[in-house]
Subunit: 265 residues, 2 copies
Amino acid sequence: MRGKLILVGAGLSVDLITLRGVKRILEADIVYVDSYTSITLGDLRSFLTTQTGKEAVFLSRKDIEEKYFETIIKPALEGLKVVLVVPGNPLDATTHVALLSEASRRGIDFEVVPAPGIIPNALTMSGLMIYKMGKVVTLTYPKSGIISEYPYDVIKDNDLRNLHTPLLTEIDIEKGVKMQVREAIEILLQLESMRREGVLSESRKAVAVSGLSGSEQRICFGTLKDLTELPDHEGPHTLVITSPKMHFLEEEVAQIISRKYCQLT
Amino acid sequence: MRGKLILVGAGLSVDLITLRGVKRILEADIVYVDSYTSITLGDLRSFLTTQTGKEAVFLSRKDIEEKYFETIIKPALEGLKVVLVVPGNPLDATTHVALLSEASRRGIDFEVVPAPGIIPNALTMSGLMIYKMGKVVTLTYPKSGIISEYPYDVIKDNDLRNLHTPLLTEIDIEKGVKMQVREAIEILLQLESMRREGVLSESRKAVAVSGLSGSEQRICFGTLKDLTELPDHEGPHTLVITSPKMHFLEEEVAQIISRKYCQLT
């Protein structure tokens, strides 16, 4: 009998995993954790041990992207139930979609258990409306001195339609890379000084979200100038450039949330 | 001492509630359920009784939108912990955002516990990429013979950017309204025959999602013509008009998922 590949979302922090997710972990023969996209891995390891009694194996990016045959496919072909726990919502990342395709091609059954991810929660938990969510884009550090202008184009385009732009920021735990809000804003303002199309300025409003839904969560609504003052935070970080015209209820609730969750110290 | 208002997402089906959500229900003095936006209420009622031992009060739209002072605000002002369980992800709906603002204005503390909602899962669980998600829009029945053209404009605009359009369909359990995929497609094709801008046609591809993540979930990828043949389904329904040019991995995985979850009988 063939086994099964089950992707289980771990949610934004460990107790935001779903009941179904926990059940699938309990039923699993092998439990892996994708360990290169998240920050709260220490918590996740202790959660899995104490709450499910399962000894999880933490996989590196290489284990999942290159050695997936040995780690994931082979045990499933041999009849085992293989669970891969993914921080956030499992299919938000392309690698995990490709895994499903690989499993299916080899006749392995699969299942996906969703969990709250950064999309759309960076917006909704900040008081912004899901109907006003524009295209998502990732902001990366300059590579060999070159800054990608793509995020600028996406913001400009979302602006034209009065939509919010959720900017995910570069993160690679294995390489020790984790972009801070301040750095993200520096890159954005640098893009403005290159393009000079009046899309971004220090007075532009945004919501800076860090460690969403964790015990140290920070949600700050303000101008880009205000937000550059924010101290570093364990993150991960998302910066939502709010739409040029916010709905009055959005602005009101973003301020309420910010008063509650923005520790400026 | 003042109480607290806690919005708890019930997720897309009852075992997709999070551990934190269950904990908040267990700690609550009063448990309400928003009963007008979801279909799986029977399951939710029995889940709450058997899994948490709490007797939940099911609120109508009127109870939440008009009588919120008596039902929700007053008990919280008197010091009680009031939990409102919301199918899906609690802040995806404007009414619940307005409740937070109301609570805050009266000095009541609040908390939001997210859960998997239809956005972005209608896309990601169908194999579509979150980076290609365009603006969300709700498709409604004609009112007094007038069809809203707004969804047509949104699809046209998302098309120009090669983005997917998630179409939520009209649903009001209290009024017995639940748009089927077939009806949604009829409305779209009617809009095309009114506008004639070549945005939609019977050969346009889409993903029809019904009862996502429940035991009867149906996910069908095909042309609008194919999808009109789908029998009625308990729903709720979401129709994603896929982007004009799908990424090869999206197309591959959408087909895999459709083979697994599209029961055409």
